[in-house]
């Protein structure tokens, strides 16, 4: 996946463009309000994205603790409802805790660093290829075998239509 532009940069770009390229030319008040609502939703998405993965995992684990704590508090109760709570705790509450994902930017930075190392390796391989080192051809083939499927997968994931809108 591309680490740059990241999702936040793309959303920010859309937000800016809605404000500068679209909104000034919208004369219908309802349409203008709709554009502003779109901006608000997009800004909300920008604010959620950096925290959503960690928070989901953290909240999942915290809820397991809540179930366990409630079950412990009702340990001496023999009512039917209390039994249902104990059964629920035995089922869902027994699920293992989820690992907390790293912040996306940490992963992106690490991904970018290795990607840059591969780019530098490609330059060195080219120098070796031009010097007639056959193993460098094989090295480039290994690199291409890794990168090619990745790029094709990204293209299928991201592309909308032929991406030539506005070109005429």
């Amino acid at each position: 996946m591309n680490t740059t532009p990241n999702i936040d940069q793309l959303l920010e770009g859309v937000l800016i463009s809605l404000g500068t390229d679209v909104l000034p030319y919208v004369s219908n008040p309802k349409a203008a309000a709709t554009v502003q609502m779109m901006q608000s939703i997009l800004q909300g998405v920008r604010q959620v994205l950096p925290v959503v993965d960690q928070r989901l995992a953290e909240e999942h684990n915290a809820m397991l603790h809540v179930i366990a704590e409630i079950t412990a508090l009702l340990g001496g109760c023999d009512e039917v409802a209390a039994e249902r709570i104990r059964e629920r705790a035995a089922m869902i509450g027994a699920e293992p805790e989820l690992p907390i994902p790293l912040p996306r930017e940490v992963v992106a930075d690490a991904h970018r660093a290795v990607g840059n190392a591969l780019t530098a390796t490609m330059i060195d391989l080219d120098e070796l290829q031009r010097a007639g080192v056959a193993a460098a051809d094989d090295g480039l083939a290994v690199l291409r075998a890794h990168v090619g499927p990745r790029v094709v997968r990204d293209t299928h994931t991201i592309l909308v239509g032929n991406a030539l809108l506005g070109r005429g």
């Binding site: 990607g115 291409r144 293209t155």
Partner: protein, 350 residues
């Protein structure tokens, strides 16, 4: 803008007693220049004439993808009109003083014909004209590629229009200096490690040059959207801003790329001649092979990849807020599968 245009047209039509500009409106489409259509109503002693015209204006430098010269484009159009039968717009002139229109600009004649070239393909209403139109388009390209460079570019403005050190004294020097330009440009486009694929493209071009052919003036953006047609003939070939001296196979390669991306079938026509390449070869005797087309498809991709990805990088680095440059990340991605296939990446089909 309208007042500036009327004022400018006064120089272009010195005989006019009065000039009016009517129907001034932007033409949608195109990532590089801002274009506007209008009619100039010119009144003089002999009566009134209506001139259908187009204003082509540079965008602000920060958002410009391709830094090209309206002066050079003006000279090229007029040279083509004088030295060839290639249908191009007459250029009324260029304005290099940005004070007049905000940026450098030129005014050209608005040609007639259908711009919806998709009408020629698949189930389009003009599919019956496709063979004749593409036959003519091929003949136009051949004329461009076989006309003496000096007749089209007497001042040498097309030798290195980007001013990046291209050497057109021989074919080998042209290829070498152009590929070096691509490679040297990599730091200006390297906004993400996935751009290593583009670097691979540049390096592969350097390692695998094909046989030489005579250099020629090439259109530089020869694609299914850059011509008009009517009654089985091309009425205009336009958007010459990326024209330069180059290898004629560059135009064939770029058309092949854009044919795929545009879902058009230019290269399949004229069918009775075995397609565009076969007809081109019959007219020129160049015997261009598919492998050479593939090389120059990559070469042309590199040529546009440099300014496009540089614009994306400038946008990401915050040098502009131009939204189109962000959208170009998708456009750029759309070229990737074919690029990888031509580079021989394992397991990649177009």
């Amino acid at each position: 803008m309208r007042d500036a245009l009327v004022d400018w047209l006064g120089d272009a039509f010195p005989e006019a007693d009065a000039i009016d500009v009517v129907g001034f409106e932007p033409i949608p489409g195109g990532y590089s220049r801002e274009t506007y259509r209008f009619d100039a109503v010119v009144r003089c002693a002999g009566g009134e004439q209506v001139h259908p015209l187009i204003l082509r204006k540079d965008p602000p430098a920060a958002v410009s993808i391709l830094q090209t010269s309206r002066h050079v484009e003006h000279d090229l159009l007029e040279s083509l009109r004088a030295a060839t039968s290639i249908p191009v717009s007459r250029s009324l002139g260029h304005e290099s003083d940005p004070a007049r229109f905000g940026e450098c600009a030129m005014v050209i004649e608005r040609m007639g014909g259908n711009a919806q070239t998709s009408d020629l393909f698949h189930d389009g209403p003009d599919v019956d004209q496709a063979d004749d139109v593409m036959r003519h388009l091929c003949e136009i390209l051949v004329e461009l590629h076989t006309t003496d460079i000096g007749a089209i570019d007497p001042r040498g403005a097309l030798a290195d229009p980007r001013g990046v050190g291209i050497d057109v004294t021989t074919w080998v020097r042209y290829i070498d200096s152009t590929v070096e330009y691509y490679i040297d440009s990599f730091p200006t486009i390297d906004y993400d490690p996935t751009l290593m694929v583009v670097l691979d493209l540049f390096l592969t071009l350097r390692r695998t040059p094909p046989r030489p052919l005579p250099l020629a003036v090439v259109h530089g953006d020869f694609n299914p959207a850059n011509f008009l047609y009517a009654d089985g003939r091309v009425t205009a070939l336009f958007d010459w801003e990326n024209a330069r001296i180059g290898d004629p196979r560059e135009d064939l390669g770029w058309m092949t790329t854009m044919d795929i991306l545009s879902n058009s079938n230019v290269m399949d026509h004229p069918r009775d001649e075995g397609g565009f390449l076969a007809y081109y070869n019959r007219l020129t005797g160049f015997e261009v092979t598919q492998a050479e087309i593939d090389y120059f498809t990559l070469f042309g991709t590199a040529n546009i990849a440099v300014p496009v990805n540089a614009a994306i990088k400038r946008r990401i680095d915050g040098e502009s807020t131009e939204f189109t440059h962000l959208y170009l990340t998708q456009s750029s991605m759309g070229t990737m599968p074919n690029l990888l296939r031509l580079l021989g990446y394992p397991g990649v089909t177009a």
